[in-house]
C-alpha cells in the first residue's frame, strides 16, 4: 500500500440508488470482496478499494452509501450529501463520480443523477442492469440519453462483468463535467425566489452550484432550515423564513413543485431516449410477488420457509455434528492414553477439550443457518420478508426499514444495531436498537439445539413437521414477537413519535450466487471457530480451575465440584434463580455466558465432565449427562422438558452479550441507553421465565 500511495493520483466515488448494483460494480472495478444483498441500505460504512487502469495508474475508489436523493435525512444518506457538497473536511474532493443507474428503473434513478449534474460535479453514468431493462421491454438509446444529460454514459451488466473495462477506460479520462445548463424549470414564482436566494448565498461565499442546491433545499424543506439554522448567516435565515411565508400565502407546496419539475424533465428525456415495447402482461417477478407478498398467503409462505429452514438445520446438520463429536471423543481418549492421570490430563480432556468441543459441535448448524440466510438474501426474498413484516411493524409504530436491522440481528445484534443508521427518525432508530438484540442471534443457536436435542421428544406433527423443528422456530418467533411488542410499548411511552410511511423497492428475483453464499458461510464459520479457539478455550480453562480448586482430598468429583470456587458462586446465586427452576450449575452457566451466550454450552460441557470424571464415560454426550443429573436434595432430575424450555426462553429474552452493550454505548453516545437495555431485557427474561415455569408446573 505504501509503495502504491505515491502513484495514486485520483480520488473516485461511486454513488447510486440502493439496489442499483453499485456494490457489484465496485467489486468488479476493485476486485475487493464485499457483501452484496438485495435489500436497501446494506452499504452503511465507507468502503474503499484501488482501481488499476490499463496505463498502470491507480485511483482510490470510494463506495458511498446508497441513496435515492441528496435531500434524504437518514444518517448514511446525509453523509453522501455532505461529502458531495464538500462539507466533510476529512474527505478529499473527488476527481470523478461514477453514478450507477438501474436501467430498469431509469426515471427514479435519474433523479439523483440530475441532482449531481446540478452540483456541477465531474460525473459519468454507469447504465447498469441493461439486460434486465431489455428483458422488460425497454430499448434505451444510450447516445441520445447521453446527449440529453450532457454526460458520458457506459452501459454495464455488473454481475456479468459486461461494460466494466469500458467504464474503467472512461473513468481514466478527465473532464467529465456536464456541459449543459440546467434544463428543468420551476414555476416562475419559485424560480425567482430560488435565484434570489442563490445569489444571496453566493454573496456569502457559497459556490454557484452549492448555492443553487442549498437554495432549492432550503425552500423545499423546513427540516433542512432547522438543521442548518446555526450554520447560516442571520440574513439568510430571515430571507428563507420570509420566502416560506410568501409561498405559503400563495398556496405553493415547494417540495412537491421541485420534485415534480425534476420528474417532468426526466420524463421528457426518457420519452425521447427510451422506447417501451412492454407487453401489457405482468412480469414473472410481479406474478410471483402477487402470492409472495399477499396479506395472508405471503405471511403463510414466510412462516413455512422459516419452518423448513429450521427443520433442515436440525436434520441435515446431525450427521456432520455427530462426526465432529466423535472426533473430539477420539482425541480425548488418545490424550488419556498418552498422558498419565493427573491435573494436566484433567485440564486438557475435561476442561479445554470438553468446553471447546461442546461449542464446535454446532459449527454445521451455524453454516446451514448462514447458507439459508445467504440464499434468501441473494434470491431477493429478504426484501419480500421485510415487505411482509412492514404490515406488522406499522402496527407497532415502526416501518419496514426497522425490520432490516432486525433481520441482520438474526445473525448478530452488532451489525443489526449498526444497520439502524439507515433510519431517519432518531426515536425510531433508538426503538429499533433497543429491540434488535431480542432477535435470536447465531450465538443462541447452540443453546437451543443442546436443549432441544436432549429434552424435546422427537415426535412429528401430521407426519411431516418434527416437534424439535417447531420448538426451534417457536424460539425465533418468540424473540421476533417480543421485539415487536416491546417496540409498541416504547413507541407509546418513552419514545413517542408518529408512525412513518415506508416506501420499499422490491428488486426482481434472481438466481443466487453460490460463490457469495459460500464466502459468507466461510466468514461466519471461521469467526465461530476463532471464538471457539480463543475466548471459549480461555473461559473453559479458567472454568476448569474454578471447578477443580480448592482441592479437597478423598472427596467424590460431585462433592468436589460443589465445594469448588465455581460451586460456591453457583450456590450463592441459586436462591435468585431457583424460582425459575434453575439449579446452581445452571447459575454458573448464566454467569459465565454474560460474556457471550454460547459460553453457556462450553460451561455445561466443562462442569459435567468435571462432575462425572469418576464415571469414565467420556463418550457420553453432554445432553445425556444433563438428562441423568439428579438433584440430591429433591431426588428429581435437574433438567426436565420444562427446565429446558425455561432456559431457552430466558436466553431468547436476556441481554447476555457484552459486545452488544459496548456497541449500544458507542451508537447512543453514553451509558444511559445500554444500561436501560440491559435492565429491561434481564427483567423481562426473568419475569417471562418465571411465568412459563410456574404455568408449566401447574399444567404438568
Amino acid at each position: 500500500m505504501n509503495t502504491s500511495e505515491e502513484i495514486i493520483s485520483r480520488n473516485i466515488a461511486i454513488i447510486g440508488n440502493p439496489n442499483s448494483g453499485k456494490s457489484t460494480i465496485f467489486n468488479s472495478l476493485t476486485g475487493l470482496r464485499q457483501k452484496v444483498a438485495n435489500y436497501p441500505g446494506v452499504t452503511v460504512e465507507k468502503k474503499e478499494g484501488i482501481v488499476k487502469f490499463k496505463d498502470g495508474s491507480l485511483a482510490i475508489l470510494i463506495d458511498l452509501p446508497g441513496t435515492y436523493s441528496l435531500t434524504a435525512n437518514a444518517p448514511d444518506e446525509k453523509i453522501v450529501k455532505d461529502i458531495l457538497l464538500g462539507r466533510k473536511t476529512d474527505i478529499d474532493p473527488f476527481d470523478l463520480i461514477i453514478c450507477v443507474v438501474d436501467a430498469s428503473n431509469l426515471e427514479r434513478n435519474l433523479y439523483l443523477v440530475s441532482q449531481i449534474i446540478d452540483l456541477k460535479l465531474p460525473v459519468i453514468m454507469a447504465l447498469n442492469m441493461i439486460d434486465v431493462a431489455e428483458k422488460s421491454g425497454m430499448t434505451i438509446n444510450v447516445n441520445k440519453l447521453s446527449e440529453e444529460l450532457g454526460i458520458l454514459i457506459i452501459p454495464t451488466v455488473g454481475n456479468k462483468h459486461r461494460g466494466i473495462e469500458a467504464l474503467k477506460a472512461a473513468a481514466n479520462r478527465r473532464a467529465n463535467y456536464s456541459k449543459k445548463a440546467r434544463q428543468w424549470k420551476l414555476p416562475i414564482v419559485l424560480e425567482e425566489e430560488c435565484i434570489e436566494l442563490k445569489n444571496l448565498l453566493q454573496i456569502h461565499s457559497w459556490t454557484e452550484a452549492v448555492a443553487f442546491h442549498d437554495a432549492v433545499t432550503l425552500l423545499s424543506s423546513p427540516y433542512y432550515l432547522e438543521e442548518q439554522k446555526d450554520l447560516l448567516p442571520e440574513e439568510i435565515v430571515e430571507h428563507v423564513l420570509q420566502d416560506h411565508n410568501r409561498l405559503n400565502i400563495l398556496g405553493m407546496d415547494c417540495q412537491s413543485e421541485i420534485v415534480e419539475a425534476r420528474y417532468e424533465w426526466i420524463k421528457s428525456i426518457c420519452g425521447s431516449a427510451v422506447i417501451f415495447n412492454r407487453n401489457t402482461g405482468k412480469s414473472l417477478s410481479d406474478r410471483v410477488d402477487n402470492i409472495m407478498t399477499h396479506k395472508f398467503w405471503g405471511f403463510l409462505i414466510f412462516l413455512s420457509i422459516m419452518t423448513i429452514i429450521f427443520q433442515a438445520i436440525f436434520t441435515w446438520a446431525l450427521i456432520p455434528m455427530d462426526l465432529i463429536s466423535k472426533g473430539f471423543d477420539s482425541l480425548g481418549i488418545l490424550i488419556t492414553r498418552i498422558l498419565p492421570k493427573g491435573e494436566l490430563q484433567d485440564l486438557i480432556v475435561n476442561g479445554a477439550l470438553s468446553g471447546v468441543s461442546a461449542v464446535v459441535t454446532f459449527l454445521p448448524q451455524i453454516l446451514f443457518l448462514f447458507f439459508f440466510i445467504g440464499l434468501l438474501e441473494d434470491t431477493g426474498y429478504m426484501a419480500r420478508a421485510a415487505f411482509i413484516m412492514d404490515r406488522l411493524m406499522s402496527k407497532v409504530g415502526l416501518h419496514g426499514k426497522s425490520f432490516i436491522p432486525m433481520l441482520s440481528s438474526f445473525a448478530c445484534a452488532i451489525p443489526g444495531i449498526m444497520a439502524t443508521r439507515t433510519i431517519e427518525n432518531r426515536k425510531d432508530r433508538l426503538v429499533t436498537m433497543l429491540v434488535s438484540p431480542l432477535m435470536s442471534c447465531s450465538a443462541r443457536l447452540p443453546i437451543y439445539v443442546l436443549m432441544i436435542a436432549a429434552f424435546i421428544p422427537k415426535k412429528s406433527i401430521l407426519g411431516i413437521i418434527s416437534l424439535p423443528g417447531i420448538t426451534l422456530v417457536s424460539m425465533y418467533l418468540l424473540g421476533l414477537f417480543t421485539a415487536l411488542g416491546m417496540a409498541w410499548i416504547f413507541k407509546k411511552t418513552l419514545l413517542k413519535s408518529d408512525t412513518p410511511v415506508f416506501i420499499m423497492e422490491l428488486p426482481p428475483y434472481k438466481l443466487p450466487s453460490l460463490k457469495s453464499i459460500v464466502l459468507q458461510m466461510w466468514e461466519k464459520g471461521s469467526l465461530f471457530l476463532k471464538r471457539a479457539g480463543t475466548i471459549i478455550l480461555g473461559v473453559s480453562i479458567i472454568l476448569w480451575f474454578l471447578s477443580t480448586y480448592p482441592k479437597k482430598e478423598n472427596f467424590s468429583p460431585s462433592v468436589q465440584l460443589e465445594q469448588s470456587f465455581v460451586g460456591r458462586i453457583g450456590h450463592f446465586v441459586e436462591p435468585l434463580i431457583r424460582p425459575l427452576g434453575f439449579d446452581w450449575k445452571i447459575g454458573i452457566g448464566l454467569i459465565s455466558s454474560m460474556l457471550q451466550r454460547e459460553v453457556f454450552v462450553s460451561t455445561m460441557g466443562t462442569i459435567y465432565n468435571v462432575k462425572d470424571s469418576d464415571k469414565g464415560e467420556s463418550t457420553i454426550s453432554l445432553g445425556q449427562h444433563m438428562k441423568e443429573d439428579i438433584d440430591p436434595v429433591s431426588g428429581h432430575p435437574v433438567f426436565t422438558v420444562l427446565t429446558a424450555i425455561c432456559l431457552m426462553v430466558y436466553y431468547v429474552l436476556a441481554m447476555q452479550c457484552m459486545s452488544t452493550i459496548a456497541i449500544m454505548k458507542r451508537e447512543t453516545n453514553g451509558w444511559k441507553w445500554p444500561l436501560f437495555q440491559f435492565c429491561y431485557m434481564t427483567a423481562l427474561a426473568y419475569c417471562v421465565t418465571l411465568i412459563v415455569y410456574h404455568v408449566g408446573l401447574f399444567l404438568i
Binding site: 491435573e343 494436566l344 432518531r426 473461559v539 447512543t668 453516545n669
Partner: protein, 54 residues
Amino acid sequence: MNWQELISLSIVGMTLILIIKSEIRKYRLRKTNPCGGDCNCTALKIDRLNPDKM
C-alpha cells in the same frame, strides 16, 4: 505440587493474562475506531445519535 499440577496452573495463569490483555485491547479499539467496533476497520465517522438531545 507435582509436575502436572504445576503446568496446569501455569496454563491457567497465562490464559487469565491473555484474556485480560485481549479485553483491554478490544476496549481500546472500540474507543479509537470510528465505527465503534473492535474490528480495526476504517469506517467513516458517522454522526452519532445522542438521545439526550431528543
